[in-house]
């Protein structure tokens, strides 16, 4: 196997591109979980947003509108989750599962309804790569990071804003308080349910952007379950990153590189007749995620998990 052709600039560059949807969703989920809401519907949010962005880009011809559609749809799903988990205060795990099922059904129907008549699966135009002058010339890093499409740059910038959002704004302070000790936040006149709703909207928007990036920035078409478990991987990454958005983001990027690596090895090793079955490589990212999750959970000596995660807030209970 020709390793030199596999490992190289191309690997890392495509790895980053591959990683971005998951990274966005993971960062969004970090915000939500920091506020104390477990959003297991991430996969469903990404999927619906993916469809919306595809539809938007296809019919309008504009990638920007497609992305916008995706973000708005994601936020709408976030609002739906807020109604379930924050307003109605039903079991957050079940809410997430139901959301994913709901999203699967609705997107399948909508896609078929809109595009079945075409016969051939429709595609949208790919976004051109924009090499950033100057930065592109940095050895090693330049061609990898600064030769992506515009959407990538935008997404990366947005995702990196999550850290200052959580740690350098009053909103972020309220979020962290609501997820850790909601009673104390309440006593400080922080409206816990409202903060959690906003956090879910942020999460939905990020997941929506992730879905949009997947479609508009990467694969340029839609299919049922096109998100292929990225939402679930994102959830695992939040645990791995110990709820620190920067570590989560970094972890997602690293994961993307492994994913890209696996694809290349698959291709290079000769496909179906290879000695090592290609399924091994397909499974690799998931096995890796599993291992990462287990080690992160088991090795957590100091529990970084927000103490109120998954528990709906009800006033005046402790009496």
């Amino acid at each position: 196997m020709d390793w030199s052709s596999i490992v190289g600039i191309g690997l890392f560059a495509s790895g980053l591109q591959l990683a971005m949807p998951t990274a966005l969703a993971a960062v969004g989920e970090t915000v939500s979980e920091r506020a104390g809401v477990l959003n297991l519907g991430l996969e469903g949010m990404m999927l619906t947003a993916a469809l919306a962005s595809f539809v938007g880009a296809y019919y309008s011809g504009s990638a920007t509108l497609g992305v916008l559609a995706g973000v708005v749809t994601g936020m709408a799903m976030g609002a739906l989750m807020a109604v379930l988990s924050v307003l109605l205060k039903t079991d957050q795990v079940i809410n997430g599962i139901v959301l994913v099922i709901f999203a699967g059904g609705v997107t399948a129907f909508a896609y078929e309804r809109l595009f079945r008549h075409l016969g051939v699966p429709p595609e949208i135009d790919a976004l051109p790569k924009l090499a950033i002058p100057g930065l592109f010339d940095i050895p090693w890093v330049g061609p990898v990071v600064f030769n992506q499409n515009a959407l990538f740059y935008f997404s990366a910038g947005l995702a990196l804003c999550a850290w200052p959002l959580l740690f350098r704004t009053r909103f972020g302070l309220a979020v962290r308080a609501a997820g850790e000790t909601p009673a104390a936040a309440d006593a400080a006149a922080v409206h816990v349910d409202r903060i959690r709703t906003v956090a879910l909207l942020v999460c939905g928007a990020m997941a929506g952007l992730g879905g949009a990036v997947l479609i508009v920035g990467d694969v340029n078409l839609f299919g049922t379950y096109i998100t292929a478990g990225r939402g679930w991987v994102a959830l695992a990454l939040v645990i791995f990153g110990r709820w620190n958005p920067l570590v989560v983001f970094g972890g997602a990027l690293a994961f993307g590189i492994v994913d890209a690596l696996q694809l290349r090895i698959q291709a290079a090793s000769g496909g179906t007749s290879a000695a090592v079955p290609y399924e091994v490589f397909q499974a690799l990212p998931y096995v890796l995620t599993l291992v990462v999750m287990v080690t992160a959970t088991a090795a957590m000596r100091r529990s970084a998990q927000p103490s109120a995660l998954g528990i709906p807030f009800r006033k005046g209970v402790s009496e």
Binding site: R168, T169, R170, F171, G172, L173, A174, R176, A177, E180, T181, A183, A184, A185, D186, A187, A188, A189, V190, H191, R301, R302, S303, S307, K315, G316, S318, E319
Partner: protein, 551 residues
Amino acid sequence: MTGIASAQGAVASSVSRTGTYPAVAMSRIVKRFGAVTAVDGVDFDVRAGEIHGLLGENGAGKTTLMNILFGLHQPDSGTISFGGEPARLRDPHDAVARGVGMVHQHFMLVPTLTVAENVLLGERGGVALTRRTVSSMTEQLRACSERYGLDVDPATPVWRLSVGEQQRAEILRALYREAKVLVLDEPTASLTPFEAEQLLPRLRAMAAESTAVVFITHHLDEVITHTDRITVLRGGRHVATLQPGETSTRELARLMVGRDVSTTAVGIGVATPSESRRATRIAPGGSKMLEVEGLEARGPKGDVALHGVDMSVGAGEIVAIAGVEGNGQAELEEVLIGLRRATAGSVVLEGRAITTLGTAQRLSAGIGVIPSDRYRRGLVRALSIADNLVLDRIGEPPYGGALTISRRAIRTNAREQMERFSISVARPEQLAGMLSGGNAQRIVIARALSRDLRLLIAAQPSRGLDVGAMEFVWGQLDAARAKGVGILLLSTDLEEVFALADRCLVMYRGRVVASFGRSELERERIGLAMGGVTHDDAAHDDDDERRGSPR
């Protein structure tokens, strides 16, 4: 019903002799939570410069009333006025704006944030929270802390502070916000007697600066000695408002409870343990039921919670572990029950090592448990009383075999236990979550004591219970001891310790720092130990570990 006219009328009636309006007056406040009326038409007022004690049992409505004053709850009816001016408090912001500051019984601090960040949490301000803003707040708080002698470092994350320091941080927050009405909810509950003694003069100093202080407590001795006026609540209603000089602890006890009660039960600060309730018993310390050596464990955040605990409990002996909450008792409870793994040391039950055994095995080995949090760890609220009573033995005959359950046996057992433990509820099918605190605790105790026990671990068994339930619990523990069960009592309530203990150990910062026999039980010495000051400490100087020295 609550028009301006009646509000002003109510206010007028609480005007002091000098003709000025009280700092705050609450009038005909009613608050219901579902079917429960927590506050039933209560009038309450405080004057500037006064320390006003708010007295009542657990569940009398004191905390709810003050939470309303702090804007945490909205009253169903009634008015609140400040200096004669009616006001509506929609949330704590409004309350703070009116000068109300509250130090809650269960601290309203976020452990992962620093003190300064906690204060910033409640402040209105711009979107950005720069490092400069935080450090500016930190400095301001530091200055305020020095000014009032509170000795709190605002840059420390709250989880690193001791319980006493956390309370001072809460007070700091209230003072920083220039509270004109400072409400303290059970302030001495989490303090060592020593720290409590330091707190009360501080309150006097604040009152001298015209702050109105409200002091919620159920400790009669504190209220008689340190307040200017006392209001007693019972069952959500206002019972009396009197001057400390005009009354006695006995009368206050009667007002609080509604009947004459043994003064020990309501905590009159008896310095020597009462002998009156001690039934005849087996001489304690016969065979060793429990031996713990060098026990070490970590807490939930990874910090070391137990630093090598040594102790033992004999048959028919009640060993109490006193100490302010947060010194390792919770972790000790969890390790002994089997919910938390010890990182070092051994636990031996009647000569048999059980250090590595799980909870199920410990229960079968003869350990009974009354957990400290009855709703989280004691009962399954959505199951019936009957089901809860057999949760630990459902697979055993007669309640069930390998593949069957006998509903009849469960029901019979429930009726028996409800009778025996005076659980005053109609049907055993009633869901446990609908019970009062006292009844819920009775179920927990019934289940624990209806087995053949060698050792009983009772953690905060009478916390949050009214006097009647408290007396019941103490009676049950006494009876168990008389049967030869070894009892380990973890309690933050010194009255409970004095009433029950044969020996008393004091835990401080994860270690047992002092041990007292029954005849040595003495408030001041135990109090000092709870604060980390013991005889043999002259050399170690625990004080060096603490930020700041006692005054």
